[in-house]
Each structure stands twice: as C-alpha cells, then as structure tokens.
C-alpha cells in the first residue's frame, strides 16, 4: 500500500502504527532470507517508534502524512545507536552516536524506521553485487540484480518490506534501481537535501532521495527531507514547496525535450520501445515533444569515473582503523596498520575506485584527468542549460537495459559502469531527475523512464511523472 493509503487507515484508526509495523516486520522475516535487502532490522526500536506514533495519532496532535509509516533507510545514512555498515567490512561493527539530518527529519515526522538497507559497498556499484553482506535479489525475478547502489532500498519497497525508503544517488544510485525494481525514485537538485550524516562518497555529486511506490509518495517524502541545514553548507536556502499538494492533472503547454543521444545503439530494443510509447502518450495528452541534442552525453561516464573516484579516494582516506570500525591485527608500524586495515576492510570495487582516484589526483596527472574532467563537466552542464532554454523537462530511458542477471557484468568494470550512461550526466550537472515505471520486458522485468528538470524544478518533474501515472 502507498503512504497515502496507509495514512488514511492510520488516521481513521482502522489500523494502529504498532499493528502496521508488526505486519511489515513479519514480511521482512519471511522474505529477507532470500531477497537480502535488509542488513539490519531494528524491531525493538521500530515498535517503540510505532507506539509513539500511535499516541500522536490518537491525540490527533502533530500528525503528519508520515506518522506511523514504516520506512527503510539505506545503510549509508547514519542512525544513532543503530549499526551503520555502508555494506563494508571496514564499518561492519560501527554504531554511530548521532543521526543524519534526514533521519532526524523522518523521526520528527513520526515515521517508523524498520531497519537499514543493503547496498553496494560505500554506494559504489550498479547492481548491489558489491556488498560485504551479499547481493540483493530483484523481487521480480531473483536470478536478476535489483540495480544499485540503492538496490536494497528499491527491492524492499517493491516487495512490501517497507512502505518507502531512502536511497542516495551519486551517478544514478536511486533512479537506476528504482527503474529495475518498478519503483519511483527521485534524485533532488544538488543542495536540496542535507547530507549531514550521509557517509560521503563523491561530495560534489551525492544527494539523498526517496524510493517509493508512486509519485505522490515521492512528493510526500521529498518535502519531509528537504531544506536548508546549518550542518551542511552545500544546502540551498530556497523554500521547500508542498510537492504533494502541487500535483495536478493536465499537461497542456508543457514542452518535453527528447535527446537523440539517449536513444543510441546498444540500448535494449524493449527499453527504447517502452519509453517511446510513453512519450507518445504524453504527447497525446497535451505535451509538446521537442527533439533536442545533448552532444557531450557520450563523455559523461568517463567524466564521472574521474571525478567520483577522485573525490572518493579523498573521502575514504579517513578509514584507517584508528578511531572506529575494523582494525587489522597488525604488529608492525602505524603505516603497516593503516595498509593492512584498509586492504582487509575494503572490497574489490571500492579498492579499484580508491586506486583510480589516487592515480588521477597524483602528481603530474591532475591536469590531464581531474581538471580535464571538470572542464568536460562544464560542457555537459552547458548542454543541459542550452536544452532548458527550449524545454521544461527532458525525458529519456533511466537505464539502457532492464535488470541483468546476477554475475553477468561483474567481470568487466566498464560494462557495469555503462549501466549509468543516462543517469551520470544529471549528477554532473546537479539537476533533479525522477525515474518512473513505464513498461516491462518480455521477461516481465520493469523498465523505467527518466524525467530531468531544471535546478530546483522538482515540483515540475513530479507533476509530469504524476500525469504519466494517470494516463499510463
């Protein structure tokens, strides 16, 4: 059930928050051994929060659309007193002493936190196969990946283990798994949501956002977590609109750009067909479709795989086994201890990214790689600025293929990286984008459509997505 439907049941007293939490926890108990979407389930804590939510609902004081709603949190967001692993061996025993701002915001709204969701280690991956806690399965077919890195979040929402979840998106990590699991996922504008308490991967790209069952739920969740935060100086001061209240029927006068570079050779035929059909439906219902060009798209993945690893290598330098987390049993010098701890603690993909980042930032290579990538980033950003002078939103596939089989792409890192070809440009430009379901493959695996907006235009892309939901 959606947040909206659950809220009605809770507000009318048809079901209590404790009953609801118990029923979701029961679903997790039954399905998690095979799906593996939760790393940590916090039953006791969830039932306490649910009892508090029931008091609010009973007194009808302080009730928000999220009061009593069972939610899952990606294990990259720190939670006070609840183990936060980032799906890494190096933090497998780490218990934070404060909450991420977004977790505080959800708790203050009365949400019930069921547990921490599996992911690719430190959010580095596109299939959820790079987790120290084992891969997550796609609930639509357990032989397939759920996408990544927020694979646990998408799988949990798709399989009713929670009503909604928080994910994070550095190069597509909310939108791509949402697409592969048949959910809605929105990556907000860079700076819309506070990242205080988000374990940093690539600081100029990371954003937090919801994965939900429908667009209205995404609007409700996004409002709850957005806004300026003194603890994150990159948050924007702009006011947060009531996204859910602003959803209304009608597409007349909306101009939608379709970039030719997003329908290229190599993209699955089924994906192209589904998205093209969705575009036709939007046109039939009043939207104007405009052909556009984003000429630097083919350079986005290369640009991303310089900038993101560079920032990651700096951010992950802090894991040295001294103050928290895993420490190797080394008898040597302090340098030996650092090296042994990190070698034992990081999985192969994280190691590869740290190595890439260290290399591109190393003496003599900075200009050729990092500075070059930042200039290309400007070109990609300018592509979007040019397009948005002509259109209100841009529509594309979210991923070039539906979910792929577990093990299919793990041998070649490049094959995996190209799964993010349509999502990375959006992070490089700091834009908001949403993925919504728009069809299924012949193997009955979901296909997602991405809608990209201008900076801080979340309301517009949510509205477009909402209208598509109505006519789909």
């Amino acid at each position: 059930m959606s947040i909206n439907e659950l809220h009605k049941e809770l507000a009318s007293g048809k079901v209590s928050a404790v009953e609801l939490a118990k029923s979701y926890l029961e679903t997790i108990r039954k399905t998690n051994p095979s799906l593996n979407s939760f790393i940590t389930v916090c039953e006791e804590n969830a039932l306490k929060q649910a009892a508090k939510a029931d008091e609010r609902l009973k007194s009808k004081k302080n009730v928000t659309p999220l009061t009593g709603i069972p939610i899952g949190i990606k294990d990259l967001l720190i939670t006070k007193g609840i183990r936060t692993t980032c799906a890494s061996k190096i933090l497998s025993n780490y218990v934070p002493q404060y909450n991420a701002t977004v977790v505080d915001k959800l708790e203050n709204a009365g949400a019930v936190i069921l547990g921490k969701l599996n992911m690719d280690e430190f959010a580095m991956g596109s299939s959820n196969e790079h987790s120290a806690f084992g891969p997550v399965k796609n609930p639509h077919n357990e032989k397939y990946v759920p996408g990544g890195s927020s694979g646990g979040s998408a799988a949990a929402v798709a399989s009713n283990q929670c009503a909604a979840a928080l994910g994070t998106d550095t190069g597509g990590s909310i939108r791509q798994p949402a697409s592969m699991c048949g959910c809605v996922g929105i990556k907000p504008t860079y700076g819309r949501v506070s990242r205080f308490g988000l374990v940093a991967f690539a600081s100029s790209l990371d954003q937090i956002g919801p994965i939900t069952k429908n667009v209205t739920d995404a609007a409700i969740m996004l409002k709850a977590i957005s806004g300026h935060d003194n603890l994150d100086s990159t948050t924007l001061k702009s006011e947060v609109p009531d996204y859910a209240a602003a959803l209304k029927e009608g597409l007349n006068g909306i101009k939608i750009g379709v970039p030719k570079e997003y329908f290229i050779k190599g993209i699955s035929k089924e994906v192209a067909e589904s998205v093209n059909q969705a575009i036709k439906k939007l046109e039939k219902n009043g939207a104007e479709i405009v052909d556009i060009s984003l000429p630097h798209t083919e350079y986005a993945v290369a640009c991303y795989y310089i900038i993101a690893p560079a920032e990651a290598s700096a951010n992950l330098a802090r894991y040295d086994g001294i103050r928290y987390g895993h420490r190797a049993k080394s008898a040597g010098s302090v340098d030996d201890l650092f090296r042994q701890t990190r070698t034992e603690g990081f999985g192969p993909e994280v190691t590869l990214r740290i190595m890439l980042g260290t290399y591109v930032l190393s003496s003599g290579y900075y200009d050729a790689y990092y500075r070059k990538a930042q200039c290309v980033r400007t070109l990609i950003k300018n592509d979007f600025a040019g397009a948005f002078a002509k259109v209100d939103a841009i529509v594309s596939p979210t991923a070039p293929t539906p979910a792929f089989k577990i093990g299919e792409k793990t041998d070649d890192p490049l094959q995996m990286y190209l799964a993010d070809i349509f999502t990375t440009p959006v992070n490089l430009a700091g834009l908001p984008a949403i993925s919504i379901p728009c069809g299924a493959s012949k193997d009955r695996l979901p296909i997602g459509m991405q809608i990209i907006g201008k900076h801080l235009d979340e309301a517009k892309i949510l509205n477009l997505a909402y209208n598509y939901e109505l006519i789909a």
């Binding site: 290369a302 302090v334 890439l356 591109v360």
Partner: protein
C-alpha cells in the same frame, strides 16, 4: 597518457595505503588499465577556454555558518568506538622510534 604497468599499480597502492598480493597484481593491473584507458577518451575533447566546474549548483548568498564550536553531547561514546583504547586514550602502534 602514461603507460599503466604493475609498477604503476604498486606505486599508487602505496599512495593510497593499500597493498596487493603478488599473485593478484596481474589481473588487477589489467582491470585498472582498462578503466584508465577508457576515461582517457576525454583527451579527444577540446576544452580550451572552458572553465572547470567543481560544484554544479552555486548559490549567490554566502552559505557558511558562523565558525563557533559547540559541545558534542556524549564525547565518551565516540571514544568508546575506538578498536583499542586505554581509558580515554586511543591506542596505536608506536610512532616514535626508540634509540
């Protein structure tokens, strides 16, 4: 672009405080090389006169908060998280060599 060899990988590993077993070095070098060669495709683009973007969304107002410290509620709990400690001190291997 410089050639990627096993020596490059060993040098970068040292910078990153990581290490590789001799037997995994060949396969690792191949993976590393494949990605570095792919990202080098950016060199085909002319970026003369283009200024670099470090953050995609720049805000006009200064956003830094006042630089004032505040007390963390339970500092002892933070120290408790250390893997090896002696009272309120975190233990590390000796960093100063004895004569």
């Amino acid at each position: 672009m410089a050639k990627i060899t096993k020596e490059t990988v060993e040098y970068v590993a040292k910078l990153a405080s990581l290490k590789f077993e001799a037997k995994e070095l060949d396969s690792y070098t191949a993976r590393f090389k494949r990605v570095v060669e792919y990202v080098a495709k950016l060199s085909a683009l002319d970026t003369e006169g283009i200024s670099p973007t470090s953050h995609a969304v720049e805000e006009k107002d200064p956003r830094l908060r006042e630089d004032v410290s505040s007390k963390f509620a339970d500092a002892d709990k933070l120290i408790e998280a250390a893997p090896a400690k002696s009272g309120r001190l975190i233990e590390v291997p000796k960093v100063i060599e004895q004569e």
